[in-house]
Symmetry: C2
Subunit: 308 residues, 2 copies
């Protein structure tokens, strides 16, 4: 491992932007990926998470993932880069961890990918094995929509006690602000103050940040960093109403996420529309949006002024 | 592609036994795997499906899967070998198809693995792409417990019209015999007579075969072929009550499957107990059963005389 960039817990706060890993003819479009990373660094995001679910890590080979990790660090202009290291097999996860270290990642993001359903003990041992392997900070990636694994509060607490656990990416918060605050408070009580809590599910971000989440692990922020930064800065500076208002302004975008089967296909269509990624940039079998769906996306992008 | 062994639809009937792919120190235990395959061929199963979910295909590298496919054909003593070719990315699936052909497989089994949820069109295009690539018969592998993809009857019908679709592996049938028959009849109406229907979910096998399923795609049959053959032969020869009686006799085994989170971990523990696989033969992070669970498994194996 070559000189891993160590970071304190402050790195796991604010806006962590998740860029796509665009494909062209079933190969990583390295120029497009580098362009997305540079765009994020220029916008001033707090961190960049390469090879999240948005970055299609689960679909890429080890060599592709190692190359993408290196490209991310090279083009991040000093912004901390976290790298998704998930895999179905523990030994493959460890290989990805080694590659992330070699690339100069500032942390790793680990989701318990499943084929056979996993037990809590399986998942705990996976995290224990990874924290044994690396001194890089680890983000616990709780994303039941893709992994189909459901963390309990008790498992959060067990994993949070492992050395090097820096943050937990939670899938969302209740829509009601008071309930959201109770939820975040309960997680913090379980995990301890040394673990930051990051919200995901972009439509939940303003509520989550206002409820006390330290970070936003953001799909949309990986392609449209400016509005995501506006929400993040407002919430983190105590301007809760401004965060809510900016999120409400983006309501038509959140509606597309709900209507078109999640954020990834919509954000890929936006990146393609804006010339940031080649046409049909997702890995097959993910075909991306249909033409009528893409037209609806373009309309929202134009009406909200997201292309500027 | 080197001389793929072509088979007619008759190959996709009867008992298809799914062997484990045992690991030892995170590498395929080739001798143990060859032993399992030979055991199945000697028992007289109708086909062997290597690299099914039971064979941990989702956890293995391309090289490991190619090697396992070759070993299966080499040790099957002429029994048709089907090979699981699923993967998260279409191009990886095609590589597995090529490797299965090169190994001499008699057919391929394709499950729509998911990380991002797939649409019906995504899955249809995946099957279209695979049937374009190969002349080997294709088994549609409907296993929502692992893939989290749910087939509709309409999608069954669309896919069944593709050239080369030979069989559909369904996840189970209703427990009530009349309802089971209606279900199988409805699937057959959708898919046509050229597609055989194979039940899985071992506890459903007798009901499914008695309800008109042509095949049983069997986890337990990959490790304990004799009782699985007894059920299959009885049902296929019209001795429905005998099939039900033998399945009822194995009730304590089906109860373990339900109690211990599915069939794979239990069957792995049985194979380990019988000396057919090394201890802890599943790929990590799957830890397999706990010691008290293993004791319960041993008790059932002994009481049912499954070790003979």
């Amino acid at each position: 491992m070559t000189d891993p960039r160590r970071t304190g817990p402050h790195a796991f706060t604010g806006l962590s932007a998740f860029p796509l890993t665009p494909l062209r003819d079933d190969a990583v479009d390295q120029a497009a990926f580098a362009g997305l990373v540079t765009r994020l660094a220029d916008a001033g995001v707090d961190s960049i998470t390469a090879l999240g679910s948005t970055g299609s890590y689960a679909y890429l080979s080890r060599a592709e993932r190692a190359r993408v990790s290196r490209l991310a660090v090279e083009h991040a202009e000093g912004v901390p880069v976290f790298v998704g290291v998930g895999g179905l097999r523990t030994s493959h996860v460890l290989a990805h961890v080694d590659d992330a270290e070699a690339a100069g990642a500032a942390g790793v993001l680990l989701a318990p990918m499943t084929y056979q359903p996993l037990t809590d003990d399986d998942v705990f041992e996976l995290f224990r094995t990874v924290t044994d392997r690396t001194e890089l900070p680890v983000v616990v990636y709780d994303n039941p929509g893709t992994t189909r694994f459901t963390f309990t509060m008790e498992l959060y607490a067990r994993i949070a006690q492992l050395p090097g656990i820096a943050s937990i990416k939670i899938p969302g918060v209740p829509a009601d602000p008071a309930q959201a605050r109770d939820h975040v408070t309960a997680i913090r009580a379980a995990t301890g103050e040394h673990v930051t809590i990051g919200v995901s599910g972009d439509g939940f971000a303003a509520t989550g940040l206002n409820a006390g989440c330290d970070a936003w692990y953001s799909v949309v922020g990986g392609t449209l960093p400016s509005p995501a930064l506006a929400i993040t800065r407002a919430a983190r500076e105590g301007r809760a109403a401004d965060a809510v208002a900016e999120s409400a302004r983006l309501g038509p975008l959140w509606n597309l996420f709900a209507e078109f089967g999640g954020s990834l296909r919509v954000v890929a269509a936006i990146a393609e529309h804006l010339g940031l990624a080649p046409h049909r940039c997702l890995p097959l079998p993910l075909q991306g949006l249909t033409d009528p769906q893409r037209a609806a996306v373009r309309k929202v992008v134009d009406e909200l002024g997201l292309g500027r």
